[in-house]
Symmetry: C2
């Protein structure tokens, strides 16, 4: 499964989102054509993507919506609850956590840390902001492996190194910084300025009709 | 330039960011090898990417940092100022705007809109939150073509249609919704939940105890 192209994994997220919509509308089964049409993909593309992960279809029936949702969640690892920590309790960190849909059922915010002494002890949702020196102990006790970084670009590399040292294995990074990490650590960076630059690039070309599908244009890094 | 693959455009953003770092450190010239090394790319990759956009190198000198920055900004369309509007003045919208580096020199927030009557007229940075019905007039008067959507998933498609009707051509969408738009409109979606799912997918792969049952893994490896 290591060889699955990044964009296909993105599409799995979109298929899952769309299937949940069909589920709410009480569809029991769905064809690759219906699923593709709702997302702007060909049915061949849908079938090819799902084939990376196993055989899902039933001849003459198509996909059973509940079953496919369950299997895609398992593939994406969101069939369990991942405890995550947040480092950086500033505006961005607060917004991320209050953003509907960001922390879905599969993720639970377990602790929040900040280097700013003035913030320590303040409420953050149901949690209290902890000082950085408590991070290794808490990560160890709660066996947390996933972290979200929402600190300044200057602080980001230091925070990442500290997190890895504490046992974190995967990071979602919102700092506009080029971070370096060992190859067995997975860092997913979301540089919001880069997203705007993609937009201005397409607008400058004056012909956005050749825009890539959303999943592919987001899959880099 | 229409045929440039999306990922190459992303890399241009990263090259630009890295070149600005070299500029601050007062480097005057740089080789493709140095630039690649700083970002984890091969020098062949760097040269290939830059070739999409023209001839930049100087034999025996490498790239002149100032010159290359100027040309990459021109390519990305950030050598001018793009006025943008924000629709959705909630937590996420506020955080995006206060997030350092999100609105760089190339982008200027020109107006903010919200459908919530209770928010109209409140301060938002230097601006005042406007009602949605003012949007077409303001977009027309200021000749704005770019918008950021930070509304609920339920409202997003309606907002997008309204924006297009008003003359907006490019959109950065932060709502976790599958939006549909005509092919001449460029919509760049940033679904933060999808980013977390990519992370849990990678983390699931990395843990042998979470391996898929035999029948599922067969077709994949």
């Amino acid at each position: 499964m290591q060889d699955i192209p990044g964009p296909a994994v993105y599409r799995i997220s979109f298929y899952l989102r769309q299937l949940e919509t069909f589920q709410r509308a009480e569809h029991e089964t769905i064809s690759s054509k219906q699923l593709g049409k709702a997302l702007g993909y060909t049915d061949a593309q849908v079938r090819k993507d799902l084939t990376y992960f196993g055989q899902f279809g039933h001849p003459g029936v198509g996909y059973r919506v509940d079953e496919l949702i369950g299997r895609l969640k398992k593939i994406l690892g969101t069939d369990r609850v991942w405890p995550v920590i947040l480092v950086g309790a500033g505006n961005l960190g607060r917004a991320l956590m209050s953003y509907k849909g960001f922390l879905r059922k599969g993720f639970q915010l377990s602790a929040v840390f900040d280097a700013d002494a003035a913030k320590i002890g303040r409420r953050f949702g149901d949690l209290e902001i902890e000082p950085m020196e408590n991070l290794p102990r808490i990560v160890g006790q709660l066996q947390i492996r996933m972290a979200i970084i929402a600190v300044t670009p200057e602080a980001a590399q230091g925070v990442l190194d500290f997190l890895i040292e504490a046992g974190i294995r995967g990071v979602l990074n919102f700092s506009p910084a080029n971070l370096k990490s060992p190859s067995d650590i997975f860092v997913q960076s979301v540089d919001l300025a880069v997203q705007l630059e993609q937009l201005s690039f397409r607008m400058s070309l004056g012909d956005p009709s050749d825009a890539l599908p959303q999943d592919e244009s987001r899959s880099v890094r």
